[in-house]
Amino acid sequence: MRRLAVAILFLLATAPAHAQPPAGISRPANASALSPIELGAALYAGNCSTCHGIAGRGTSDRGPSLRDAGAQAADFYLRTGYMPLTHPDQQPKRGHVDFSERELRVLIAYIASLGNGPPVPAPHPERGNLREGLRLFTSHCAGCHQIVGQGGVVTGARVPPLDQATATQIAEAVRIGPYLMPKFSERDISPAQLDSLVRYVQLTQHPPDRGGWGIGNIGPFPEGMITWLLAALALIATCMVIGRRLGS
Protein backbone atom coordinates (compact mmCIF):
# COMPACT_ATOMS: atom_id res chain seq x y z
CA MET A 1 0.00 0.00 0.00
CA ARG A 2 2.74 2.38 0.96
CA ARG A 3 4.68 1.59 -2.21
CA LEU A 4 1.61 2.27 -4.31
CA ALA A 5 1.18 5.63 -2.61
CA VAL A 6 4.80 6.52 -3.23
CA ALA A 7 4.50 5.46 -6.86
CA ILE A 8 1.43 7.61 -7.37
CA LEU A 9 3.06 10.58 -5.69
CA PHE A 10 6.14 10.15 -7.86
CA LEU A 11 4.05 10.06 -11.03
CA LEU A 12 2.14 13.15 -10.01
CA ALA A 13 5.29 15.01 -9.13
CA THR A 14 6.92 14.24 -12.43
CA ALA A 15 3.78 14.61 -14.49
CA PRO A 16 4.82 17.95 -16.01
CA ALA A 17 7.94 16.33 -17.37
CA HIS A 18 5.92 13.53 -18.92
CA ALA A 19 3.34 15.85 -20.43
CA GLN A 20 3.11 15.83 -24.22
CA PRO A 21 2.88 19.12 -26.13
CA PRO A 22 0.86 21.27 -26.52
CA ALA A 23 -0.22 20.94 -22.92
CA GLY A 24 3.19 22.49 -22.80
CA ILE A 25 5.82 23.24 -25.38
CA SER A 26 8.40 20.60 -25.96
CA ARG A 27 11.77 22.21 -25.55
CA PRO A 28 15.24 20.71 -25.89
CA ALA A 29 16.98 20.44 -22.57
CA ASN A 30 20.07 22.35 -23.68
CA ALA A 31 18.16 25.18 -25.42
CA SER A 32 20.53 27.94 -24.39
CA ALA A 33 23.49 26.13 -25.85
CA LEU A 34 21.99 25.71 -29.31
CA SER A 35 22.46 28.04 -32.27
CA PRO A 36 19.29 29.67 -33.65
CA ILE A 37 19.05 27.21 -36.54
CA GLU A 38 19.56 24.26 -34.26
CA LEU A 39 17.04 25.54 -31.75
CA GLY A 40 14.55 26.24 -34.51
CA ALA A 41 14.96 22.76 -35.89
CA ALA A 42 14.64 21.22 -32.45
CA LEU A 43 11.51 23.18 -31.61
CA TYR A 44 10.05 22.24 -34.97
CA ALA A 45 10.84 18.61 -34.45
CA GLY A 46 9.35 18.56 -30.97
CA ASN A 47 6.20 20.57 -31.66
CA CYS A 48 5.34 20.56 -35.34
CA SER A 49 6.76 17.56 -37.10
CA THR A 50 4.08 15.13 -35.90
CA CYS A 51 1.60 16.78 -38.25
CA HIS A 52 3.72 18.80 -40.63
CA GLY A 53 6.26 16.11 -41.29
CA ILE A 54 10.02 16.06 -41.28
CA ALA A 55 11.51 19.29 -42.62
CA GLY A 56 8.04 20.59 -43.29
CA ARG A 57 7.18 18.21 -46.04
CA GLY A 58 3.70 17.59 -44.66
CA THR A 59 1.83 14.38 -43.89
CA SER A 60 -1.00 12.79 -45.81
CA ASP A 61 -3.59 13.03 -43.10
CA ARG A 62 -2.51 15.42 -40.36
CA GLY A 63 -1.01 18.59 -41.71
CA PRO A 64 -0.03 20.39 -44.90
CA SER A 65 3.45 21.02 -46.20
CA LEU A 66 5.15 24.16 -44.89
CA ARG A 67 7.65 24.39 -47.72
CA ASP A 68 6.08 27.50 -49.22
CA ALA A 69 4.57 28.85 -46.05
CA GLY A 70 7.38 31.30 -45.45
CA ALA A 71 7.86 33.60 -42.52
CA GLN A 72 4.46 35.13 -43.27
CA ALA A 73 2.42 32.08 -42.38
CA ALA A 74 4.72 30.95 -39.59
CA ASP A 75 4.62 34.36 -37.99
CA PHE A 76 0.82 34.46 -38.22
CA TYR A 77 -0.01 31.02 -36.95
CA LEU A 78 2.55 31.06 -34.16
CA ARG A 79 2.03 34.58 -32.83
CA THR A 80 -1.73 34.19 -32.69
CA GLY A 81 -1.45 30.90 -30.87
CA TYR A 82 -3.34 29.13 -33.65
CA MET A 83 -0.53 26.63 -33.81
CA PRO A 84 0.45 24.17 -32.41
CA LEU A 85 -2.87 22.31 -32.47
CA THR A 86 -3.73 19.65 -29.93
CA HIS A 87 -5.36 17.57 -32.59
CA PRO A 88 -5.25 17.90 -36.38
CA ASP A 89 -9.06 17.95 -36.68
CA GLN A 90 -9.40 20.83 -34.26
CA GLN A 91 -10.24 24.32 -35.44
CA PRO A 92 -7.30 26.64 -34.72
CA LYS A 93 -8.18 29.26 -32.16
CA ARG A 94 -6.45 32.41 -30.99
CA GLY A 95 -4.90 31.60 -27.67
CA HIS A 96 -1.99 31.91 -25.32
CA VAL A 97 1.39 31.69 -26.98
CA ASP A 98 3.56 29.26 -25.09
CA PHE A 99 6.76 29.96 -26.99
CA SER A 100 9.06 32.67 -25.76
CA GLU A 101 9.97 35.55 -28.05
CA ARG A 102 13.35 33.99 -28.83
CA GLU A 103 11.76 30.65 -29.56
CA LEU A 104 9.24 32.29 -31.87
CA ARG A 105 11.93 34.05 -33.82
CA VAL A 106 14.07 31.00 -34.36
CA LEU A 107 11.11 28.80 -35.21
CA ILE A 108 9.75 31.30 -37.73
CA ALA A 109 13.19 31.63 -39.26
CA TYR A 110 13.51 27.87 -39.48
CA ILE A 111 10.15 27.46 -41.23
CA ALA A 112 11.00 30.31 -43.59
CA SER A 113 14.21 28.53 -44.46
CA LEU A 114 12.33 25.44 -45.60
CA GLY A 115 11.34 26.99 -48.91
CA ASN A 116 10.61 30.18 -50.79
CA GLY A 117 7.60 31.45 -48.92
CA PRO A 118 6.74 35.14 -48.52
CA PRO A 119 8.22 37.27 -45.73
CA VAL A 120 6.30 38.91 -42.92
CA PRO A 121 4.30 41.74 -44.52
CA ALA A 122 4.60 45.35 -43.41
CA PRO A 123 1.24 47.08 -43.88
CA HIS A 124 0.84 50.85 -43.55
CA PRO A 125 -2.68 51.47 -42.32
CA GLU A 126 -1.98 55.15 -41.81
CA ARG A 127 -1.83 55.49 -45.59
CA GLY A 128 -5.14 53.73 -46.04
CA ASN A 129 -8.55 55.21 -46.80
CA LEU A 130 -11.41 54.28 -44.49
CA ARG A 131 -14.12 54.36 -47.11
CA GLU A 132 -12.08 52.10 -49.34
CA GLY A 133 -11.45 49.86 -46.37
CA LEU A 134 -15.17 49.64 -45.55
CA ARG A 135 -15.99 48.85 -49.16
CA LEU A 136 -13.34 46.12 -49.38
CA PHE A 137 -14.23 44.68 -46.01
CA THR A 138 -17.92 44.55 -46.89
CA SER A 139 -17.36 42.65 -50.12
CA HIS A 140 -14.54 40.33 -49.04
CA CYS A 141 -14.80 39.85 -45.30
CA ALA A 142 -18.09 40.88 -43.73
CA GLY A 143 -19.94 37.75 -44.83
CA CYS A 144 -17.87 35.70 -42.41
CA HIS A 145 -16.35 38.18 -39.97
CA GLN A 146 -19.41 40.46 -39.60
CA ILE A 147 -19.42 44.05 -40.78
CA VAL A 148 -17.55 45.37 -37.73
CA GLY A 149 -15.38 42.33 -37.23
CA GLN A 150 -17.31 40.72 -34.39
CA GLY A 151 -16.84 37.27 -35.86
CA GLY A 152 -19.50 34.78 -36.82
CA VAL A 153 -20.32 31.38 -38.18
CA VAL A 154 -19.68 29.50 -41.38
CA THR A 155 -21.06 25.99 -41.85
CA GLY A 156 -18.78 23.77 -39.81
CA ALA A 157 -16.65 26.41 -38.11
CA ARG A 158 -16.57 29.54 -36.00
CA VAL A 159 -15.21 32.68 -37.55
CA PRO A 160 -13.07 34.63 -35.10
CA PRO A 161 -13.66 38.26 -34.17
CA LEU A 162 -10.92 40.65 -35.19
CA ASP A 163 -10.61 42.69 -32.04
CA GLN A 164 -7.19 41.35 -31.12
CA ALA A 165 -5.57 41.20 -34.54
CA THR A 166 -2.51 43.36 -35.05
CA ALA A 167 -1.98 45.17 -38.35
CA THR A 168 0.61 42.60 -39.36
CA GLN A 169 -1.67 39.70 -38.49
CA ILE A 170 -4.52 41.19 -40.49
CA ALA A 171 -2.25 41.54 -43.51
CA GLU A 172 -0.91 38.03 -43.02
CA ALA A 173 -4.36 36.48 -42.73
CA VAL A 174 -5.57 38.22 -45.88
CA ARG A 175 -2.66 36.81 -47.85
CA ILE A 176 -2.63 33.34 -46.27
CA GLY A 177 -6.29 32.58 -45.89
CA PRO A 178 -5.79 30.54 -42.71
CA TYR A 179 -7.91 27.46 -42.03
CA LEU A 180 -11.21 27.87 -43.93
CA MET A 181 -10.69 31.51 -44.88
CA PRO A 182 -10.21 32.38 -48.56
CA LYS A 183 -6.89 33.95 -49.44
CA PHE A 184 -6.51 37.20 -51.32
CA SER A 185 -3.35 37.74 -53.35
CA GLU A 186 -1.89 41.08 -54.35
CA ARG A 187 -3.91 40.85 -57.56
CA ASP A 188 -7.18 40.64 -55.63
CA ILE A 189 -6.27 43.16 -52.96
CA SER A 190 -3.33 45.39 -53.85
CA PRO A 191 -0.90 46.55 -51.14
CA ALA A 192 -2.54 49.99 -51.13
CA GLN A 193 -5.95 48.39 -50.77
CA LEU A 194 -4.61 46.19 -47.99
CA ASP A 195 -3.50 49.32 -46.13
CA SER A 196 -7.07 50.62 -46.33
CA LEU A 197 -8.46 47.27 -45.25
CA VAL A 198 -6.15 47.11 -42.24
CA ARG A 199 -7.02 50.67 -41.33
CA TYR A 200 -10.71 49.80 -41.40
CA VAL A 201 -10.24 46.69 -39.28
CA GLN A 202 -8.37 48.78 -36.75
CA LEU A 203 -11.32 51.15 -36.68
CA THR A 204 -13.61 48.23 -35.88
CA GLN A 205 -11.45 47.41 -32.90
CA HIS A 206 -12.63 50.70 -31.42
CA PRO A 207 -15.91 51.12 -33.25
CA PRO A 208 -17.41 54.59 -33.55
CA ASP A 209 -20.10 54.08 -30.90
CA ARG A 210 -21.63 57.50 -31.06
CA GLY A 211 -24.84 56.21 -29.54
CA GLY A 212 -23.34 55.14 -26.23
CA TRP A 213 -22.63 51.65 -24.98
CA GLY A 214 -21.98 49.54 -28.05
CA ILE A 215 -23.34 46.31 -26.51
CA GLY A 216 -21.22 44.16 -28.80
CA ASN A 217 -21.90 45.89 -32.12
CA ILE A 218 -23.78 42.94 -33.53
CA GLY A 219 -27.18 44.50 -33.79
CA PRO A 220 -30.56 43.22 -32.61
CA PHE A 221 -29.36 40.26 -30.60
CA PRO A 222 -27.89 42.24 -27.67
CA GLU A 223 -30.55 44.92 -28.26
CA GLY A 224 -33.19 42.32 -27.51
CA MET A 225 -31.34 41.26 -24.40
CA ILE A 226 -31.26 44.82 -23.13
CA THR A 227 -34.97 45.11 -23.88
CA TRP A 228 -35.84 42.11 -21.76
CA LEU A 229 -33.11 41.89 -19.16
CA LEU A 230 -32.86 45.59 -18.46
CA ALA A 231 -35.87 47.53 -19.71
CA ALA A 232 -38.60 44.97 -19.09
CA LEU A 233 -37.27 44.14 -15.66
CA ALA A 234 -36.96 47.81 -14.74
CA LEU A 235 -40.51 48.47 -15.89
CA ILE A 236 -41.91 45.46 -14.08
CA ALA A 237 -40.12 46.63 -10.95
CA THR A 238 -41.60 50.11 -11.41
CA CYS A 239 -45.08 48.62 -11.76
CA MET A 240 -44.55 46.59 -8.60
CA VAL A 241 -43.57 49.74 -6.72
CA ILE A 242 -46.60 51.64 -7.97
CA GLY A 243 -49.19 48.92 -7.74
CA ARG A 244 -50.22 46.41 -5.17
CA ARG A 245 -49.23 42.81 -4.80
CA LEU A 246 -51.60 39.97 -4.11
CA GLY A 247 -51.56 39.25 -0.43
CA SER A 248 -50.53 42.79 0.54
Binding site: S60, D61, R62, G63, P64, P88, D89, S139, A142, G143, C144, G152, V153, V154, T155, G156, A157, G177, P178, Y179, L180, M181, P182, K183, F184, S185, R187, D188, R210, G211, G212, V241, I242
Partner: protein, 335 residues
Protein backbone atom coordinates in the same frame (compact mmCIF):
# COMPACT_ATOMS: atom_id res chain seq x y z
CA UNK B 1 -60.28 113.18 -8.70
CA UNK B 2 -59.73 112.00 -5.14
CA UNK B 3 -63.39 111.24 -4.75
CA UNK B 4 -63.38 109.26 -7.99
CA UNK B 5 -60.48 107.04 -6.84
CA UNK B 6 -62.04 106.54 -3.41
CA UNK B 7 -65.33 105.49 -4.97
CA UNK B 8 -63.55 103.06 -7.28
CA UNK B 9 -61.69 101.53 -4.35
CA UNK B 10 -64.91 101.21 -2.39
CA UNK B 11 -66.61 99.39 -5.26
CA UNK B 12 -63.70 97.00 -5.74
CA UNK B 13 -63.56 96.35 -2.02
CA UNK B 14 -67.29 95.72 -1.94
CA UNK B 15 -67.03 93.24 -4.81
CA UNK B 16 -64.18 91.45 -3.09
CA UNK B 17 -66.05 91.10 0.15
CA UNK B 18 -69.12 89.88 -1.73
CA UNK B 19 -67.02 87.15 -3.32
CA UNK B 20 -65.63 86.15 0.05
CA UNK B 21 -69.10 85.94 1.55
CA UNK B 22 -70.29 83.70 -1.31
CA UNK B 23 -67.20 81.55 -0.91
CA UNK B 24 -67.73 81.23 2.84
CA UNK B 25 -71.36 80.27 2.34
CA UNK B 26 -70.42 77.58 -0.18
CA UNK B 27 -67.73 76.20 2.05
CA UNK B 28 -70.18 75.90 4.89
CA UNK B 29 -72.59 74.08 2.60
CA UNK B 30 -69.86 71.74 1.47
CA UNK B 31 -68.79 71.04 5.02
CA UNK B 32 -72.33 70.16 6.02
CA UNK B 33 -72.47 67.68 3.09
CA UNK B 34 -69.34 65.88 4.25
CA UNK B 35 -66.09 65.31 2.30
CA UNK B 36 -66.20 63.31 -0.93
CA UNK B 37 -62.49 62.58 -0.84
CA UNK B 38 -61.11 61.54 2.53
CA UNK B 39 -58.24 63.66 3.82
CA UNK B 40 -54.78 62.70 2.71
CA UNK B 41 -52.09 61.51 5.11
CA UNK B 42 -50.09 64.10 6.99
CA UNK B 43 -46.63 63.74 5.48
CA UNK B 44 -44.61 66.94 5.47
CA UNK B 45 -41.38 65.07 4.83
CA UNK B 46 -42.85 63.46 1.76
CA UNK B 47 -43.98 66.89 0.61
CA UNK B 48 -40.44 68.13 1.01
CA UNK B 49 -39.14 65.15 -0.90
CA UNK B 50 -41.57 65.83 -3.73
CA UNK B 51 -40.54 69.46 -3.85
CA UNK B 52 -36.88 68.50 -4.01
CA UNK B 53 -37.58 65.97 -6.74
CA UNK B 54 -39.41 68.56 -8.75
CA UNK B 55 -36.52 71.00 -8.38
CA UNK B 56 -34.14 68.24 -9.44
CA UNK B 57 -36.31 67.65 -12.50
CA UNK B 58 -36.17 71.35 -13.25
CA UNK B 59 -32.41 71.26 -12.98
CA UNK B 60 -32.19 68.35 -15.37
CA UNK B 61 -34.52 70.03 -17.80
CA UNK B 62 -32.40 73.13 -17.76
CA UNK B 63 -29.37 70.91 -18.08
CA UNK B 64 -30.75 69.44 -21.27
CA UNK B 65 -31.21 72.89 -22.76
CA UNK B 66 -27.65 73.76 -21.83
CA UNK B 67 -26.24 70.55 -23.29
CA UNK B 68 -28.26 71.08 -26.43
CA UNK B 69 -27.04 74.61 -26.86
CA UNK B 70 -23.40 74.16 -25.99
CA UNK B 71 -21.28 73.11 -28.91
CA UNK B 72 -18.88 70.22 -28.98
CA UNK B 73 -19.48 66.70 -30.10
CA UNK B 74 -18.10 64.65 -27.30
CA UNK B 75 -20.71 62.35 -25.79
CA UNK B 76 -23.45 64.78 -26.60
CA UNK B 77 -26.06 62.13 -27.15
CA UNK B 78 -25.21 60.57 -23.81
CA UNK B 79 -25.45 63.87 -21.91
CA UNK B 80 -28.68 64.74 -23.65
CA UNK B 81 -30.11 61.35 -22.71
CA UNK B 82 -29.02 61.67 -19.10
CA UNK B 83 -30.48 65.15 -18.67
CA UNK B 84 -33.75 64.59 -20.48
CA UNK B 85 -34.19 61.09 -19.12
CA UNK B 86 -33.20 62.32 -15.70
CA UNK B 87 -35.78 65.08 -15.82
CA UNK B 88 -38.49 62.58 -16.66
CA UNK B 89 -37.22 60.22 -13.98
CA UNK B 90 -37.37 62.85 -11.23
CA UNK B 91 -40.83 63.87 -12.35
CA UNK B 92 -41.89 60.26 -12.31
CA UNK B 93 -40.59 59.64 -8.82
CA UNK B 94 -42.19 62.86 -7.60
CA UNK B 95 -45.59 61.89 -8.97
CA UNK B 96 -45.40 58.36 -7.66
CA UNK B 97 -44.49 59.73 -4.25
CA UNK B 98 -47.50 62.03 -4.42
CA UNK B 99 -49.69 59.10 -5.30
CA UNK B 100 -48.43 56.86 -2.55
CA UNK B 101 -47.70 59.29 0.29
CA UNK B 102 -49.42 62.60 -0.19
CA UNK B 103 -52.95 61.67 -1.10
CA UNK B 104 -55.57 59.39 0.29
CA UNK B 105 -55.44 55.80 -0.96
CA UNK B 106 -58.98 54.98 -0.01
CA UNK B 107 -60.73 52.52 -2.26
CA UNK B 108 -63.92 53.35 -4.06
CA UNK B 109 -66.61 51.07 -5.33
CA UNK B 110 -68.18 50.76 -8.71
CA UNK B 111 -70.39 48.22 -10.40
CA UNK B 112 -69.84 45.85 -13.22
CA UNK B 113 -72.73 46.05 -15.65
CA UNK B 114 -73.96 43.26 -17.76
CA UNK B 115 -73.17 44.57 -21.23
CA UNK B 116 -76.04 42.87 -22.97
CA UNK B 117 -79.42 44.53 -23.31
CA UNK B 118 -81.76 41.85 -24.69
CA UNK B 119 -84.80 44.11 -24.74
CA UNK B 120 -82.92 46.78 -26.70
CA UNK B 121 -81.69 44.13 -29.12
CA UNK B 122 -85.26 43.11 -29.73
CA UNK B 123 -86.34 46.67 -30.31
CA UNK B 124 -83.53 47.17 -32.81
CA UNK B 125 -84.56 44.02 -34.67
CA UNK B 126 -88.12 45.28 -34.71
CA UNK B 127 -87.16 48.71 -36.01
CA UNK B 128 -85.14 47.23 -38.85
CA UNK B 129 -87.84 44.74 -39.75
CA UNK B 130 -90.64 47.28 -39.68
CA UNK B 131 -88.54 49.70 -41.73
CA UNK B 132 -88.42 47.17 -44.51
CA UNK B 133 -92.09 46.23 -44.25
CA UNK B 134 -93.05 48.10 -47.39
CA UNK B 135 -90.81 46.05 -49.64
CA UNK B 136 -92.44 43.27 -51.64
CA UNK B 137 -89.83 42.20 -54.16
CA UNK B 138 -87.21 41.36 -51.58
CA UNK B 139 -85.39 38.68 -53.57
CA UNK B 140 -85.14 40.78 -56.71
CA UNK B 141 -83.80 43.75 -54.83
CA UNK B 142 -81.31 41.66 -52.92
CA UNK B 143 -80.01 40.05 -56.12
CA UNK B 144 -79.72 43.41 -57.81
CA UNK B 145 -78.10 44.90 -54.71
CA UNK B 146 -75.67 42.01 -54.56
CA UNK B 147 -74.69 42.50 -58.17
CA UNK B 148 -74.22 46.21 -57.65
CA UNK B 149 -72.21 45.71 -54.48
CA UNK B 150 -69.97 43.09 -56.00
CA UNK B 151 -69.28 45.02 -59.17
CA UNK B 152 -68.74 48.36 -57.52
CA UNK B 153 -66.64 46.74 -54.84
CA UNK B 154 -64.48 45.06 -57.44
CA UNK B 155 -64.22 48.29 -59.37
CA UNK B 156 -63.04 50.03 -56.23
CA UNK B 157 -60.19 47.64 -55.70
CA UNK B 158 -59.23 47.20 -59.35
CA UNK B 159 -56.74 50.09 -59.25
CA UNK B 160 -54.72 47.96 -56.83
CA UNK B 161 -53.49 46.14 -59.92
CA UNK B 162 -51.43 49.20 -60.70
CA UNK B 163 -49.30 48.43 -57.64
CA UNK B 164 -47.14 46.15 -59.67
CA UNK B 165 -47.14 43.48 -62.36
CA UNK B 166 -49.63 41.64 -60.18
CA UNK B 167 -51.18 39.42 -62.79
CA UNK B 168 -48.15 38.77 -64.96
CA UNK B 169 -45.23 37.32 -63.08
CA UNK B 170 -43.11 36.83 -66.14
CA UNK B 171 -40.79 39.65 -65.15
CA UNK B 172 -39.50 37.45 -62.36
CA UNK B 173 -37.68 35.29 -64.90
CA UNK B 174 -35.65 38.16 -66.27
CA UNK B 175 -31.96 38.55 -65.62
CA UNK B 176 -29.62 41.01 -67.31
CA UNK B 177 -27.29 38.19 -68.43
CA UNK B 178 -26.99 37.38 -72.11
CA UNK B 179 -24.56 35.20 -74.02
CA UNK B 180 -21.36 37.11 -74.65
CA UNK B 181 -21.74 39.73 -71.94
CA UNK B 182 -18.49 40.29 -70.07
CA UNK B 183 -18.20 39.76 -66.34
CA UNK B 184 -17.32 43.00 -64.59
CA UNK B 185 -15.69 42.92 -61.16
CA UNK B 186 -16.71 45.03 -58.20
CA UNK B 187 -14.08 47.60 -59.09
CA UNK B 188 -15.73 48.14 -62.46
CA UNK B 189 -13.00 46.37 -64.39
CA UNK B 190 -13.57 43.25 -66.54
CA UNK B 191 -12.72 39.94 -64.92
CA UNK B 192 -9.90 38.12 -66.71
CA UNK B 193 -9.86 34.33 -66.55
CA UNK B 194 -6.13 34.51 -65.84
CA UNK B 195 -6.60 36.63 -62.72
CA UNK B 196 -9.10 34.26 -61.12
CA UNK B 197 -7.18 32.24 -58.56
CA UNK B 198 -8.14 29.21 -56.56
CA UNK B 199 -8.90 29.43 -52.85
CA UNK B 200 -10.66 32.77 -53.09
CA UNK B 201 -13.88 34.23 -54.45
CA UNK B 202 -14.96 37.13 -56.63
CA UNK B 203 -18.18 39.04 -57.12
CA UNK B 204 -19.05 40.02 -60.68
CA UNK B 205 -21.85 41.76 -62.58
CA UNK B 206 -22.95 41.81 -66.22
CA UNK B 207 -21.51 44.75 -68.12
CA UNK B 208 -23.86 47.72 -68.59
CA UNK B 209 -26.38 46.29 -66.14
CA UNK B 210 -27.89 47.60 -62.94
CA UNK B 211 -25.90 45.95 -60.17
CA UNK B 212 -28.81 46.05 -57.77
CA UNK B 213 -31.05 43.65 -59.70
CA UNK B 214 -31.52 40.25 -58.15
CA UNK B 215 -30.33 38.61 -61.37
CA UNK B 216 -27.12 40.61 -61.64
CA UNK B 217 -24.53 39.54 -59.09
CA UNK B 218 -22.62 36.31 -59.51
CA UNK B 219 -19.99 34.77 -57.30
CA UNK B 220 -17.02 33.32 -59.15
CA UNK B 221 -14.64 30.70 -57.76
CA UNK B 222 -11.97 28.55 -59.32
CA UNK B 223 -11.62 24.87 -58.50
CA UNK B 224 -9.10 22.34 -59.67
CA UNK B 225 -10.75 20.80 -62.78
CA UNK B 226 -10.46 17.29 -61.36
CA UNK B 227 -12.55 18.40 -58.37
CA UNK B 228 -15.52 19.31 -60.55
CA UNK B 229 -18.57 17.08 -60.56
CA UNK B 230 -20.91 19.19 -62.61
CA UNK B 231 -24.07 17.77 -64.17
CA UNK B 232 -23.13 16.38 -67.60
CA UNK B 233 -24.99 19.07 -69.58
CA UNK B 234 -22.80 21.66 -67.87
CA UNK B 235 -19.48 20.03 -68.61
CA UNK B 236 -18.42 23.00 -70.77
CA UNK B 237 -19.61 25.65 -68.33
CA UNK B 238 -16.40 25.81 -66.31
CA UNK B 239 -13.40 26.81 -68.40
CA UNK B 240 -10.16 26.26 -66.46
CA UNK B 241 -12.24 25.10 -63.52
CA UNK B 242 -13.78 28.56 -63.07
CA UNK B 243 -17.45 28.40 -62.07
CA UNK B 244 -19.97 31.17 -61.55
CA UNK B 245 -23.22 31.06 -59.62
CA UNK B 246 -25.96 33.52 -58.81
CA UNK B 247 -24.93 35.30 -55.64
CA UNK B 248 -28.53 35.46 -54.46
CA UNK B 249 -29.60 32.63 -52.20
CA UNK B 250 -32.42 30.46 -53.47
CA UNK B 251 -33.86 30.26 -49.98
CA UNK B 252 -34.70 33.82 -49.04
CA UNK B 253 -32.72 36.14 -51.29
CA UNK B 254 -29.76 37.20 -49.15
CA UNK B 255 -26.37 37.64 -50.81
CA UNK B 256 -24.20 34.55 -50.52
CA UNK B 257 -21.29 36.34 -48.98
CA UNK B 258 -19.31 33.48 -47.47
CA UNK B 259 -16.83 31.21 -49.16
CA UNK B 260 -15.39 28.34 -47.18
CA UNK B 261 -12.16 26.93 -48.54
CA UNK B 262 -10.03 24.20 -46.90
CA UNK B 263 -6.33 24.81 -46.30
CA UNK B 264 -5.73 21.11 -45.77
CA UNK B 265 -8.30 18.89 -47.41
CA UNK B 266 -7.90 15.70 -45.35
CA UNK B 267 -9.01 17.36 -42.10
CA UNK B 268 -11.14 20.26 -43.33
CA UNK B 269 -14.54 20.47 -45.07
CA UNK B 270 -14.73 20.96 -48.85
CA UNK B 271 -15.17 24.30 -50.60
CA UNK B 272 -18.64 25.75 -50.18
CA UNK B 273 -20.63 28.90 -50.79
CA UNK B 274 -22.59 29.79 -47.68
CA UNK B 275 -25.40 32.26 -47.07
CA UNK B 276 -25.15 34.27 -43.84
CA UNK B 277 -28.90 34.52 -43.24
CA UNK B 278 -29.90 30.93 -42.51
CA UNK B 279 -26.64 29.17 -43.47
CA UNK B 280 -27.80 27.48 -46.64
CA UNK B 281 -24.63 25.87 -47.97
CA UNK B 282 -23.99 25.20 -51.67
CA UNK B 283 -21.34 23.01 -53.31
CA UNK B 284 -19.70 24.79 -56.27
CA UNK B 285 -18.05 21.59 -57.45
CA UNK B 286 -21.42 19.91 -57.81
CA UNK B 287 -23.20 22.66 -59.66
CA UNK B 288 -24.46 24.57 -56.63
CA UNK B 289 -26.11 21.61 -54.93
CA UNK B 290 -27.50 22.27 -51.45
CA UNK B 291 -25.41 20.49 -48.83
CA UNK B 292 -26.86 22.07 -45.67
CA UNK B 293 -29.53 24.48 -44.66
CA UNK B 294 -33.10 25.33 -45.58
CA UNK B 295 -32.64 26.18 -49.27
CA UNK B 296 -34.88 23.99 -51.41
CA UNK B 297 -33.20 24.63 -54.74
CA UNK B 298 -29.60 24.47 -55.93
CA UNK B 299 -27.83 27.70 -56.75
CA UNK B 300 -28.34 28.64 -60.41
CA UNK B 301 -25.11 28.36 -62.35
CA UNK B 302 -24.00 30.78 -65.05
CA UNK B 303 -22.18 29.19 -67.99
CA UNK B 304 -18.79 30.80 -68.60
CA UNK B 305 -16.64 31.11 -71.69
CA UNK B 306 -13.26 32.75 -72.02
CA UNK B 307 -13.25 35.37 -74.75
CA UNK B 308 -10.39 35.80 -77.17
CA UNK B 309 -9.21 38.69 -75.02
CA UNK B 310 -8.99 36.44 -71.97
CA UNK B 311 -12.00 38.08 -70.35
CA UNK B 312 -14.67 35.89 -68.81
CA UNK B 313 -18.01 36.10 -70.56
CA UNK B 314 -21.40 34.57 -69.97
CA UNK B 315 -22.12 31.59 -72.16
CA UNK B 316 -25.86 32.08 -71.84
CA UNK B 317 -28.34 32.60 -69.04
CA UNK B 318 -28.44 30.79 -65.70
CA UNK B 319 -29.24 27.11 -65.32
CA UNK B 320 -32.42 28.02 -63.50
CA UNK B 321 -34.30 31.04 -62.24
CA UNK B 322 -32.57 33.24 -59.73
CA UNK B 323 -33.71 34.01 -56.19
CA UNK B 324 -36.34 32.65 -53.82
CA UNK B 325 -38.91 30.08 -54.87
CA UNK B 326 -42.41 30.74 -56.18
CA UNK B 327 -44.93 28.84 -58.31
CA UNK B 328 -43.21 28.55 -61.68
CA UNK B 329 -39.63 29.02 -60.53
CA UNK B 330 -38.69 25.52 -61.62
CA UNK B 331 -40.90 25.11 -64.64
CA UNK B 332 -39.81 28.16 -66.60
CA UNK B 333 -36.36 29.10 -67.82
CA UNK B 334 -34.74 32.39 -66.97
CA UNK B 335 -34.72 35.01 -69.71
Amino acid sequence: MKRFVLTLLAIINGLRRRRERIGAREEEARREEGPIVPPGPHAPRAELAVALLLFAAALCGAGFIVVYAVGGDWNRTQLQGITLGGAFAFLAIALITVGKHLVSEEEVEDSYHDPEHPSEQERIDKIVEESASGITRKKLLITAGGAAGAAVGLAAITPALTLGPLLDTDELRETPWRRGLRLIGEDGKPLFAGQVEEETFYTAFPEHADRDLIGSPVVVVRLAPEQLRLPPERAKWAPLGIVAFSKVCTHAGCAIALYRKPTFKPTQPRPALVCPCHYSTFDPARGGEVIFGPAGRPLPQLPLVVGGDGILRAGGNFSGQVGPAYGTVRSRRPT
